[in-house]
């Protein structure tokens, strides 16, 4: 059972306090988008073996959504960070690079 540290309240929460929210940093496509763009936004998801970025909510806690960067293979957590960002902050990316040199995710490196 995973533990993730909520970046808002600092609680090292176990999974029963959390709610998993799928892939992070999706860009919303609304009216005006092409069928292809909208289809990809709704349905296409990364399925990496390794570095991944996810959304989680501290549901049985402060109620805030946050982001987590972790390894889907070893379950190592590289860091958690604010939900109010379009991409992982530099310190998270550095932390991943230190442990998984050469990592890629979507167009991130």
């Amino acid at each position: 059972m995973l533990i993730l540290e909520c970046p808002y309240c600092g609680v090292k929460a176990e999974e029963t306090e959390l709610h998993a929210g799928g892939e992070a940093h999706l860009k919303r496509f609304g009216p005006g988008s092409t069928d292809g763009e909208f289809h990809d936004y709704l349905f296409m998801r990364e399925n990496p073996k390794g570095v991944h970025f996810e959304r989680w909510r501290h549901a049985n806690g402060c109620g805030k959504w946050f982001h987590a960067a972790r390894c889907t293979m070893t379950l190592e957590v590289f860091g958690t960070y604010s939900a109010q960002t379009f991409e992982p902050p530099q310190e998270i990316r550095d932390a991943i690079t230190a442990k998984r040199p050469g990592w890629t995710w979507r167009d991130l490196k």
Partner: protein, 1010 residues
Amino acid sequence: MSTRLAKQGRLIDRNKQIEFTFNGKRMTGYAGDTLASALLANDQMMVGRSFKYHRPRGLVAAGSEEPNALMQLGSGDRYEPNQRATTTELFSGLSAKSQNHWPNLEFDVLAINNKLGRFLTAGFYYKMFMYPRAAWKHVYEPIIRASAGLGKAPDKETKDADTYEHFYFFADVVVVGGGVAGLQAAKAAAASGAKVLVLEQNAYWGGRAPVDGGTIDGEAPEAWIEKTRAELAAMDNVTLRDRCMASGVYDHGYVLGYERLTDHAPGQGGPRHRLWRIRAKQIVTATGAIERPLSFAGNDVPGVMLAASMRDYVVNWGVTPGRKVVVATNNDDAYRTALVLHEAGCDVVRILDARNNGGGDLMEEARQKGIRVECGRAIAKVSGGKRVKKVAICAQNGTGGAQEEIEADAVAMSGGWSPVVHLWSHCGGKLNWDDAQAHFRPDAARPPLGDNGKGFVVAAGSADGEMALGPVLVNASAAGSKAAEDAGFPAKTVAAAAGVDSVEAPMEAVWLMPAQADIGLRMKSWLDYQNDVKVSDVQLAAREGYESVEHTKRYTTLGMATDQGKLSNINGLAILADSLNSEIPQVGTTTFRPPYHPISMGVIGGEARGDIFQPVRKTPMYEWNDTNGADWEPVGHWRRPFAYVNKGESVHDAVNREVKNTRENLGLLDASTLGKLVVKGPDAGRFLDMMYTNMMSTLKIGKCRYGLMCSENGFLMDDGVVARIDEDTWLCHTTTGGAESIHGHMEEWLQTEWWDWKVYVANVTEQFAQIAVVGPNARKVLEKLNTAAGGGMDLSKEALPFMEWRDGKIGGYDARAYRISFSGELSYEIAVPASQGLAFWNAIMEAGKEFGVMPYGTETLHILRAEKGFIMIGDETDGTVIPQDLNLQWALSKKKEDYLGKRAHLRSHMADPDRWKLVGLETVDGSVLPDGAYALGEGINANGQKNVIGRVTSTYFSATLDRGIAMGLVKHGPDRMGEVITFPGTDGKTYEAKIVDPVFYDKDGEKQNV
């Protein structure tokens, strides 16, 4: 015969005699006995029968690895099958029964399977029950079901008399195992200041060391154990728990501890078991090692026992399984058993050492005591049926010929030791094969990884593959220090206690005895005792092409019994490797999964049983509803009255009465469960315009609007009435099930997409009791309350028109009244503070007497709305339905550029004119359509099934119209008014229904607007 010795028995108290029964026979034991040791003391050699062949079986081991002695314990509400005699502490009045035999243990009809053994080989089920196909259901399955399973399941009328609980605990270092390695590791870890928890599965500390001998710091192990235990117990940062087994290690340092509180003293009160849900920074597995059996013919005859376990019985409990014992071994440890037996006055008739050069110091000692030791020799076969009678001896290097037969009543065997690597492996720790000791041991370079990417388990002592006392203590001390350091405490080296024991000669792997045993012997050489898997079965599987150890396990059932292969796995995979001409490390092990040893179902559930099995959510009017005939319906965790049933009335009668009364007089509905979300801020209007398909920002203060919510996929997810409270505040009603989820949905969009919008949401659902006052007399009763209170809110049509709301006082209560109607009648939904809810309800009931007031439940609510053609989320919608399907285009704003679901509605499938659409359905004969029935179309589909063109989404008997009414989704439905379509029911009947307008009652909506 097995018997209690005059001396020995460090764990028993001979002054405290305990009575118990086995298969109804009265027996006695001593305090400190296990059920197993007490049975042996009573010469009960045979303790059960095996699963497949129903062969007589005796005790093989003394601990949790025991495969045979599974018992049915207790009776009635405390009955439990499949309990291990070796891990059951004896208590006064214990009643045990052996399993898997009929009519009794001594004579078992199904023992005939033993004679059919050559037909019941590996994969027997798969081969035998294939043909004829029809036989499976009528012949094979019933037979298999009747003979499957070990113990009997508890009677369904009984209910576990005990309680259970969980306990959350956090530690820097958890040490699993309270043997000398565990104690040494705990001492080292605790010295650094780390918070240490030590778990010991037994009721006593020290593990095997007191039985195995040697000295620690110059003293007997027992003295050091007690001293160290006391030292640890006195430390503030150390917690010691006995009778508490770590059953599993999970991701990120999660450990489950299974504490057995009252198994040894049933009925003393309090919880029986406690599940420790532990989060550890580091875990030390000091779980010891388990001895392996030797594979020789007849190694399952009662009286054949693991050598060290036999030693345990003698030293710990003062019992011996035999007076004339043969010892067979491939290592030095078994000599300790021989010496202990000799010391206890038993006749060790022969030590058969499979090694040509024999052992070290211990062998010399045995010879000096006059015990006959033969090297390079083996057991060809043990005979005796229900107990050992004779042992045939042969050369280890051979096929089993040239036998010498000697008389004996017990056999002690040792095939070497396997570290208990289960907990190390549960979460991904890897193993290395140690050729010298012929076992897998933890690879410290590949531990299970925690959330920081670093190892979080350290193996210690013999669990790490150290087999001698001195190195065990050194290894354990280092493990404890490392764990503390890895948990973030400054490194502190603690000198390990000095352990000294005999110098041993190397062991030699022996996977089959004799090495080239012929097929006759191999067919009687057991690997898995409980599941009856023999050497010949694994060899057969290999010949039939099973190369993967995981496949072989499932094909032969090797290691799949309740002992999960603790004894059989290594021997089995060595045989498999040999059959495949491969090496053991290449074949590898099967996966180790929790629990290490079975834990009770009760403890997993913990406190969740009886009336706290699940939370039941109760409205402020719950008790009133309950005492007034509520027929409860679960709605999520809420309980809502389905109907209020009067004496002598059926539920159906009650519903019909409620429907009519609400239409004709006055009905009250407890609507407190509806979700209520306050949405406030400068951007609240803009936000709600995104959330709802229709426009909410233009709603005037004081007014209400019905709104629809779609997911980004375009599917309907919720609906409800929204009220504009003030310039920047709205109150959104959700469905009962939607209160938490829609609140979460709003927060999700606000936090993760539009985080710069200034909007706050608060869930005030439970702050209010909400009562729907419905029917032609609704206004009259409320005005009467106001009159009685000397005034209150103006509830007239002019002051509070349809689809508006007002704050004020009704009958003296602070209230907010919404003029909304889900029934088509004149209706007020009134919210009062929850603490006033019951009083307000009572006030209306009292005042309403003269107006014919009656409460009504959810079924009446459903019928009233269905008569009006109103949709219900969850009935008309199922996650695939869009507003257009329900003819709700009017609620899809065309003015808004965007809202959740808008883009999705443009996708080709959403705009497909062939989508099924909402219509009303009227049976031709007035009967009620079956819920969920499908309408038949023309022709058949690609799978040869009849085409369907629609389905029933809601169906009721309408007391108002005195006929069945329904709604459904039908292909091109709105264009087919008047057409009759057919619905086959699951009852064999076919129903015919006419497609009609879904509004069955008061089509112009005049009644709600009075």
